[in-house]
Symmetry: C2
Subunit: 281 residues, 2 copies
């Protein structure tokens, strides 16, 4: 097989699902990212719930194939056997994440799966829904140290100078993991020579994580908000980050660098660290 990344036409990619299509997109994109030289034109077709709908999708896929452009790639996670059988009639190459793997899992478990459109991202029980909603509201209320109410309910406290990525990480942990996250901005007054944690979080050191970034990135992000300000200057950013690091170190806080990590990566690290420190049910 040779590397033939010469064609510049975008490859049409379809993600098919009898549910939201989030699984098909996630896995499909995990494969496509291995071809950084290629361009892809992505289309999501979720909620394919009947054979008739599947037939329409097949017609649409085959029509794209017949235009004579790059061969479309189709990723599917449809679990309903009838829908899947119909989808497989397409003449486009199809990567079916369900088919082969389901058999394998069934063999290991010694049981037959439901083979029905299941709602991984379905509404679930009211209790779980409510706890997630409460987590999001908690994150909004405690964003940027706005409120100190019920700080003792926090599962995690994120400390950092302004604009180091506290807010998106808090929201991600709340939304995806139902965690109660408070985030607390470090300001000049917090950088005392004694390196004590700011008073409101002084007792919560075991829940604290310190975020940092690079001075140049911090300066760039701050300049978008307040161009040319002292706040955005490279000197001020360097100073705050250096003092923040000293504070984290003095208090033995885990440190995460948001300049080299995504929100998802930071969240994964935080969860793994908490699990190591004390097993979570």
């Amino acid at each position: 097989m040779v590397d033939a990344d010469t064609s510049s036409a975008a490859v049409p990619v379809f993600f098919l699902s009898d549910s939201t299509g989030i699984s098909a997109e996630t896995m499909g994109n995990a494969l496509l990212i291995q071809f950084p030289g290629r361009r892809f034109e992505r289309t999501l077709v979720p909620f394919i719930s009947s054979v008739a709908e599947a037939r329409e999708v097949v017609a649409r896929l085959d029509a794209v194939l017949d235009t004579g452009g790059p061969t479309p790639l189709v990723f599917t996670t449809a679990a309903d056997d009838d829908v899947r059988r119909e989808l497989r009639r397409t003449r486009c190459p199809m990567i079916d994440f369900f088919d082969l793997h389901m058999e394998h899992v069934e063999a290991v478990l010694g049981a037959r799966g439901a083979h029905a459109a299941a709602r991984l991202h379905g509404v679930g029980d009211v209790k779980r829904y409510n706890s997630r909603m409460q987590a999001i509201e908690y994150a909004i209320e405690h964003d940027d140290g706005q409120s100190l109410r019920a700080l003792e309910k926090a599962d995690v406290v994120l400390l950092a100078p302004s604009r180091c990525g506290k807010t998106p990480t808090s929201m991600y942990l709340a939304l995806q993991h139902g965690m109660f996250v408070a985030n607390y901005p470090l300001v000049d007054e917090d950088f005392t020579s004694t390196h004590e944690l700011p008073r409101p979080v002084a007792e919560l050191g075991h829940l604290c994580f310190g975020l940092v970034t690079s001075p140049s990135r911090l300066s760039a992000v701050r300049n978008e908000r307040r161009p040319g300000s002292r706040y955005a200057s490279i000197e001020q950013c360097t100073f705050e980050l250096r003092r923040a690091r000293a504070l984290y170190e003095a208090n033995d806080l885990p440190v995460i660098d948001s300049s080299t990590k995504s929100v998802e990566e930071m969240s994964t690290i935080i969860l793994q660290t908490l699990r190591k420190n004390r097993p979570i049910a």
Copy 2:
């Protein structure tokens, strides 16, 4: 194959990845949800970045296998060939989402993939990161109609009586799709006989979605916040939902029922509706 859901011991499930493991978890769970009668004990092992680390993971997996409990199931998305080769030495059954599918995709594209730990959920470019961060801040600022500033920048406006799911849906769209979402609570004063949209969003009807839920669910959720209040009474909830529906109908707004749909499902429907109405680049 018979349905043998009789064993009550939880099946140990491991999600392995050289990155965050989000893809392995998503796809693995999409398969496991097909076995609603089974209990699973899930462990995420992310960031496996060397052969030595992979070797430790294999030892851990095989130790679980050797306890004689239910056979563990292992899902992996490791893309690095050396890491993957080492992981496959485990004696546990392994579902490798990368291996087979990668070959298939390579054949279709006529190109060899990188086979390197790629960061689907990596930090990406600063620009994309900033736009996502701005979307989250926009959602926080415009939560519950708190601010009317820059409402014209909204990609979507969610209308609903209090506690119908506006906030989590707004956050999800901001976080996962970088969309600017404003959400606006409908209160008694908005339910006029003329069925006009509330003044602040009157010109934004083309961006508006109306959320509803069931009276019993709304009453249950509101009772958690203000037990026994008029606000939480089934009569008040029924009234508000009926008036909200009339308002949506009079203005031809798409209506989404949050009592039967998850945040992910609602977000998918919103995105699909917007795409149908006007193609998004």
